[in-house]
């Protein structure tokens, strides 16, 4: 690491691995908001999280699953950020340089998410049916030959090892991409873009594989009899969609406080809107592919996933998912003026983030709850974890330049227009 960039002390390292470089940022790109911009989401998040933790005592099974849903939402968003940064480097995209810092600030959330995953690991016995050892004992009444066949993959030590490996790999890539970009702000070393591309090149393959397996482990194994090979792509579609919505919202927040007004223009918002629209369709395409293939094959261990989601009140939730995750955003974002009207784009970004959370709720909750319904703790866990995540992102943004200064493509990005 360059000697111009100083390491944070070990306590702050979790939030930001390098010391603030805000003083050396250009005036136009310096964070001019107050500490409130990260203390407010932190406060809301902490309050909601404390409410959530109360239910750990009163209703542990519901707490674990609600917490898992909120946490997976944050994880998918951060994974989406990692994909986004990697793809921008690999394609040498110039339009996105001015908005890249938002994703870069997001991806250093992996270590924080690893810490926040402790309640999930503690609740594995409640969450994951396959952790019950009697399933694998042939003399037991609960013996399950199907799960016994999967035991070599679905067992607690291997799960924990994979879980640790995902976070180590993601954190390493995030650290490289984040610190390289921050270093570029203060040190115009011309070799930095090539280094970023190098990390991205192997990073893309590794992120694709780890994301796919992480989605199998964390979400799909909630229903250990069921499997769908397209599930990793489904997870990816949602995460890339949510990072677009998240970028729009953070950019709009900065804009309201008078930051990056001239840097992130309508042209960039329109492109984010196009990406959002594209991934709404992509999500629907993947979700439908999964559904149609299972419908066609009509094999009991596959169809039970959907069957359960059509019964006991879950049918309504499935309909809401279809309409809210595809039909409404599709028509809302299809036109060019909609993508260029910031209030519409902002509203749809909130919509997309909420329905993305609902997507995880729809996947995870029916495995634990026989009957459909929301619980207060579902929302507090979501708001709590997301609030903490936003606070961490705003905190990192406040400590550095808001755009990658010295990026050779920055001026092209500033003058980008749609044709």
């Amino acid at each position: 690491m360059s000697n111009m960039l100083k390491k944070s002390n070990s306590l702050l390292w979790l939030l930001d691995p390098v010391q603030s470089t805000a003083e050396s940022a250009e005036d136009a790109y310096r964070f001019s908001g107050s500490a409130r911009s990260w203390m407010l989401p932190a406060g809301i998040g902490a309050a909601a999280l404390i409410m959530t933790l109360v239910s750990w005592v009163t209703d542990p099974p519901r707490f674990y699953i609600s917490y898992l849903i909120g946490w997976t939402f944050c994880l998918s968003l951060t994974v989406g950020g990692l994909f986004f940064v990697i793809i921008q480097h690999l394609t040498k995209a110039y339009w996105s340089v001015v908005i890249r810092r938002i994703s870069e600030a997001l991806i250093w959330s992996f270590p924080l998410l690893a810490v926040l995953s402790i309640p999930i690991l503690l609740g594995m016995h409640d969450l994951y049916h396959w952790t019950h050892l009697e399933l694998y004992d042939p003399s037991s009444e609960a013996f399950d030959p199907i799960l016994a066949g999967k035991q070599s993959y679905l067992n607690t030590p291997f799960f924990l090892a994979r879980f640790a490996a995902y976070f180590l790999i993601w954190s390493y890539m995030a650290h490289r991409l984040y610190t390289l970009s921050i270093r570029q702000d203060v040190d115009p070393d011309p070799s930095i873009p090539a280094q970023q591309r190098k990390v991205s090149a192997w990073g893309l393959a590794v992120t694709a594989v780890t994301t796919s397996f992480a989605s199998f482990d964390i979400l799909m194994s909630l229903d250990p009899h069921w499997f769908s090979t397209i599930f990793g792509v489904y997870f990816f579609a949602g995460s890339f969609l949510s990072i677009m919505a998240f970028t729009v919202l953070i950019a709009l927040t900065l804009r309201r406080k008078g930051m990056l007004k001239d840097a992130i223009t309508l042209e960039h918002y329109q492109d984010l809107g196009k990406f959002m629209f594209g991934f709404i369709v992509f999500w629907a395409y993947i979700a439908f592919s999964q559904y149609m293939i299972i419908w066609y094959a009509n094999i009991p261990e596959e169809t039970m996933f959907y069957r359960h989601r059509f019964e006991h009140g879950w049918g309504l939730y499935s309909a809401v998912l279809l309409i809210g995750h595809f039909v409404i955003p599709f028509f809302a974002l299809i036109s060019r003026p909609a993508k260029r009207t910031l209030s519409v784009l902002g509203f749809m970004s909130v919509w997309v983030l909420c329905i993305h959370w609902f997507d995880f709720f729809w996947i995870a909750m029916p495995t634990q709850a026989e009957h459909a319904g929301f619980h207060l703790v579902d929302f507090t866990a979501f708001i709590g974890l997301f609030g903490i995540l936003v606070a961490a992102v705003m905190y990192r943004l406040s400590r550095h330049s808001l755009v990658p200064n010295n990026d050779p493509q920055l001026s092209e990005s500033l003058h980008f227009t749609n044709t």
Binding site: F288, Y291, M292, W295, Y296, N298, T419
Partner: protein
């Protein structure tokens, strides 16, 4: 009334009518795409409405300079899409449930789930075909007979010539004034095109 409407529609396709003495248009040549672009701006500003430009390749911003506005092609696409959707739905239902019902592992003869790919693909296919067809119609293509072809020079519009034609039946058209105006905006070569209905 109908004839007037048809002639108006033809103008949007770049097809003009001759005036009384068979004059079709004044064809002006320009040196480069930039000159043609600025000439189009000037011609429009001067008040001409029936004119068209010809170049070997698309010139960025020319539609704006000519005041063409947004293309209506999207309506062709939308109509084609709906037609394809209707056809796909009907095809799946009629072949599966009416004309040749076969019981395949107890599945319904017609169900929406496996029909969606067919409905989707036909929507896209018809939307794409309608877009191409609509593009041809709205451009008045194919157009094997165009009085401008009488000009030898005009052949270069497919190679290295940049042309602007002002129609003789434009309200503002007058042989002398239009000619001198086109010269004043930078035309390098001016030609009056007469349509005799046959090559001489």
């Amino acid at each position: 009334m109908l004839q007037k409407l048809i002639s108006e529609i033809k103008v949007t396709m770049g097809i003009f009518e001759c005036d009384v003495d068979n004059t079709y248009a004044i064809l002006a040549e320009f040196a480069d795409p930039g000159a043609l672009y600025h000439a189009a701006l000037d011609v429009r500003e001067e008040g001409y409405r029936k004119f068209d430009t010809y170049s070997p390749f698309p010139i960025h911003g020319m539609d704006g300079a000519m005041g063409l506005g947004n293309s209506k092609i999207g309506f062709f696409t939308l109509g084609g899409g709906f037609m394809g959707l209707a056809l796909g739905t009907w095809l799946q239902w009629w072949t599966g449930a009416i004309d040749y019902p076969i019981n395949i592992s107890g599945k319904p003869y017609f169900a929406i789930e496996p029909s969606i790919p067919v409905m989707f693909e036909l929507t896209i296919l018809f939307a794409a075909l309608a877009t191409v067809a609509g593009m041809l119609v709205m451009n008045g293509l194919p157009r094997p007979y165009n009085p401008l072809f009488y000009s030898k020079n005009f052949q270069r519009a497919t190679d290295d010539g940049f042309f602007l034609a002002v129609a003789a039946n434009d309200g503002k058209f007058s042989l002398k004034a239009t000619e001198s105006f086109l010269k004043s905006v930078g035309a390098t070569h001016i030609e009056v095109i007469k349509d005799h209905g046959s090559a001489e």
